[in-house]
């Protein structure tokens, strides 16, 4: 282990100016924090809190528009803000390394895995090709990646998301840096993969004595790995201290709010919905691929034999990891894609095979709220134009449609003048409210929420979930809620459908699925949820005892 006296990283009074016209003068304002060798420090905050800017300023990778104006960043005692670009380059990859949120885009798609890890050795060492290769293979091995030889020659698109992140970690740690900066490294991964990667990071850093600065928005992840926590809000540090203290006795109101907003894994009490059946799928299936003249048949079952029922006033959650087929089911039900087999009853007519013309009246009844409200709203049309388009397609007059849009704005908690503005003028949470208003304008009976709150900060997520619950009650909606987040599912769903590889492996009342999961996959999902002990209060006890 390195010298325990000097922290690996020390940030003192760091301020970074934002270019004019932003919502505040400084992206980061008077931030001080330190990371000791062998320590994991989590920086937590919502989007726009300045946590990523802080991380990038350490690496010297800030966008040109952002300039540090005060303070110091010291890596093993050496000031980085006054270092020359050459010196910074020499330190990057050698003494400090970074891994990123999106392992697919963070790796160069046209270079092999081995090549990209070896690059670090080529830049910073004089090792020969054979030695480099041997080191990389050993590193791949220690990352528990299967068949290191084959992995070495693979391209990023040929391996899974979790494997890609392992490759990133391998490249980051191969020269044993003193500091590893991890910027939301597990946010884009499935829960079971996330659990593995967190374990790997923890394992590697404790074995090598690396100091880790871990950026996250997820208190579950914090509970899982942090030694110390730094909470940031709007560019300032509002609270920092040992993880156990912050998680169990948060002092600052912002921290308290953030922790309180994390949905619990313990299912909420919900009255059973007894409304009439609104949607039923029978033997729904979607297959891709077909035999062509020149290639052999390669058929993928994206969804197979899916049977779900949703009542009016009921929320049914479909949970599963990427590739489980949950989004495929949602898209088939909304007839955004034609199912290959089976029927979709709404509730007395089968819309699975209806022609586009005959389907049209039923389109109105099923509406979808998508994951990314920024991409699902047309950036060149005003919010009002987006909302009234649907109802007017179904014959509502312009005036009435506009009036309905104004009423809906009030309902989702936005000002009526929002209708004249464009999507980019709103925050993520506001855009999702608009997307919900757009769906409601059609007066649907069935609302499909496809990862509708996954891209939102917890505090905003909580508000949007409350809004969904509110409109459900008001309009007696049947909601099909697609999510990968078990915490959210536990809070909002009456019943849960668990999907794996295109098949339903388990379904039942939420409380039952969480308390007595019948299928091994469901158990694995629940176990992988980060900070699950923290959520049920066990971590608090453990922490106090420790």
């Amino acid at each position: 282990m390195s010298n325990a006296q000097t922290p690996v990283l020390e940030i003192a009074g760091l301020s970074i100016a934002l270019p004019g016209g932003g919502d505040r003068a400084r992206a980061v304002d008077d931030v001080s924090l330190s990371v000791a060798a062998g320590e994991i420090v989590c920086v937590v905050g919502e989007s726009g809190s300045g946590k990523s800017v802080t991380a990038f300023s350490v690496m010297g990778l800030l966008a040109k528009a952002l300039k540090p104006v005060a303070g110091a960043i010291k890596l093993e005692g050496e000031d980085l803000l006054t270092a020359t670009p050459q010196r910074l380059r020499a330190l990057r990859g050698d003494r400090m390394a970074m891994i990123f949120q999106e392992p697919m885009t963070a790796l160069n798609p046209v270079l092999t895995i081995g090549d990209q890890i070896e690059e670090v050795l080529r830049i910073h060492t004089d090792l020969g090709p054979a030695e480099r290769r041997a080191q990389v293979l050993a590193m791949l091995e220690s990352m528990r990646l299967p068949e290191p030889e084959r992995m070495h020659a693979s391209y990023p698109h040929q391996i899974s998301g979790g494997q890609r992140q392992r490759v990133m970690i391998a490249a980051a740690l191969i020269l044993d840096p003193a500091l590893l900066i991890a910027d939301e490294p597990t946010t884009a991964l499935d829960v079971t993969t996330q659990a593995q990667i967190l374990r790997l990071i923890k394992d590697m850093q404790s074995r090598r004595g690396t100091g880790v600065l871990f950026i996250t928005h997820d208190f579950g992840v914090v509970a899982e790995i942090a030694d110390r926590v730094v909470v940031m809000e709007k560019g300032r540090v509002v609270e920092q201290g040992p993880a156990a203290d912050i998680l169990t006795h948060p002092q600052h109101p912002y921290t308290q709010m953030l922790i309180a907003a994390v949905p619990s894994l313990k299912p909420a009490d919900r009255k059973p919905a007894l409304g009439p059946l609104a949607l039923e799928t029978v033997g729904l299936a979607k297959t891709y691929g077909s035999k062509t003249l020149f290639s052999k048949a390669r058929i993928v079952h994206a969804a197979k034999d899916v049977a779900i029922r949703v009542r009016r006033g009921e929320t049914v959650g479909i949970v599963g990891e990427s590739g489980s087929g949950k989004t495929t089911v949602a898209r088939c039900v909304a007839r955004l894609m034609p199912p290959s087999e089976g029927s979709i009853l709404v509730p007395d007519i089968d819309i699975a095979k209806l022609s586009e013309g005959r389907l049209r009246p039923y389109r109105r009844k099923i509406q979808v709220v998508f994951q990314d409200p920024f991409r699902s709203l047309n950036p060149r049309r005003t919010v009002g134009a987006s909302i009234v388009e649907g109802p007017m397609n179904f014959g509502l007059g312009a005036k009435e449609a506009m009036q309905r849009a104004r009423d809906l704005m009030a309902l989702v908690g936005l000002q009526p003048n929002a209708l004249e503005r464009y999507p980019h003028q709103f925050s993520g949470g506001q855009r999702q409210r608009i997307a919900i208003a757009r769906a409601l304008a059609m007066e649907p009976e069935i609302l499909i929420a496809d990862e509708a709150v996954s891209a939102l900060d917890v505090s905003v997520q909580k508000q949007v979930l409350a809004l969904l619950a509110d409109v459900q009650e008001r309009f007696n909606l049947a909601i099909l809620f697609i999510t990968h987040d078990l915490r959210v599912a536990a809070q909002i769903c009456d019943r849960i459908v668990v999907m794996e590889k295109g098949v339903i492996v388990e379904q039942g009342a939420t409380a039952q699925v969480f308390s007595a999961p019948a299928h091994a996959y469901t158990r694995a999902l629940i176990e992988a949820a980060p900070g699950r002990d923290f959520a049920t209060g066990l971590a608090a006890v453990d922490a106090v005892q420790a």
């Binding site: 990778l61 990859g93 963070a106 160069n108 690059e119 698109h157 990133m168």
Partner: protein
């Protein structure tokens, strides 16, 4: 991959058949009589009729096509009306200057344009970027013959560094060959430099915003390698596409350049054949050009998978 290449080659056959039919028809239906051109201004009607009979032009069009297609099928391109030689021989004799010119042009264009484009993208928004883009606009807008004559005036007539025009085969010595090739190749390359530099800049600029570029910086990589190792290979697909299209256009472009610089290549052959209403030669040359186009397109598609491992056929 091999199956893909085979399928693509098979698919060229109908393309070439359609080209052959269209070319044949167009030539026969346009005004002008090759027999009259060959016979000269003072020929009598009988003489012209005799020539027409000898060339087979008095037969019905369908019969003429059948004869031509039959010969073609046996690899016989026919005999030129005007040059009185087998066309295969004519083409072989003219192909070296054209290929040399095309090759030299593309070599100059690629080796100048790609570094320029990468530099402009890297220095995005700076004066370097503006100069490169300004040059690019200029390269697009000035016609080839103007550049050609301007270069001849400056470098051949005023400075005397290069001969005004003409061609020397490679067999006559590399120095002389190169000396006569430089001006026409530079002339032709200007527009391709403009085109490729512009595409390279746009493509690299987009790639430079990608996350893996940030990753490369986080590894401590130097900017030059980030640009040429990480960015350029990712930006390659659109660049390869314009280079390919450039080569195809170039074949058409040589007609003008070879005329300006008096180079006895395929371009000149085409011009001469058209002026003489030399049907068989025109047909053969156009068929050859379309075959080259199709071949280049295939090569472009294959090059994609070379640069991007995600593309597989």
């Amino acid at each position: 991959m091999l199956g893909y290449i085979l399928r693509r080659l098979l698919a060229t056959i109908p393309v070439l058949v359609i080209v052959a039919v269209l070319v044949f028809l167009m030539l026969r239906l346009t005004p002008g009589d090759p027999a009259a051109v060959i016979a000269g201004d003072n020929a009598t009607t009988e003489q012209i009729a005799l020539i027409r009979n000898r060339l087979g032009l008095d037969q019905p069009i369908l019969a003429q096509f059948a004869i031509w297609a039959g010969n073609l099928f046996q690899g016989n391109l026919g005999e030129s009306f005007f040059f009185k030689k087998p066309i295969g021989e004519l083409i072989v004799g003219r192909i070296e200057p054209t290929l040399s010119l095309a090759f030299a042009t593309m070599l100059i264009a690629i080796s100048v344009a790609i570094p320029l484009g990468v530099l402009a993208a890297y220095k995005h928004g700076s004066w370097i970027d503006r100069v490169v883009m300004g040059f690019s606009v200029l390269g697009f807008s000035v016609p080839v013959f103007v550049i050609g004559y301007a270069l001849i005036y400056v470098f051949a007539i005023t400075l005397g560094w290069f001969p005004v025009q003409g061609y020397q085969p490679l067999s006559g010595g590399f120095g002389g060959f190169l000396q006569r090739l430089v001006l026409p190749a530079v002339t032709l390359s200007v527009i391709y430099i403009a085109l490729i530099a512009r595409m390279t800049r746009a493509s690299v600029l987009e790639v430079l915003n990608e996350d893996y570029i940030r990753t490369a910086r986080a590894k401590g990589q130097v900017e030059r390698k980030i640009l040429f190792r990480h960015a350029l290979k990712n930006a390659a697909v659109p660049i390869v596409t314009v280079v390919g299209i450039g080569i195809a256009l170039l074949i058409g472009g040589v007609v003008v350049t070879e005329s300006v610089f008096s180079i006895p290549g395929l371009g000149r052959l085409t011009v001469d054949a058209v002026l003489a209403r030399d049907y068989p030669t025109i047909q053969a040359v156009i068929l050859l050009f379309s075959g080259v186009y199709v071949g280049i397109n295939l090569l472009i598609d294959l090059a994609y998978s070379l640069f991007d491992p995600r593309i597989r056929y």
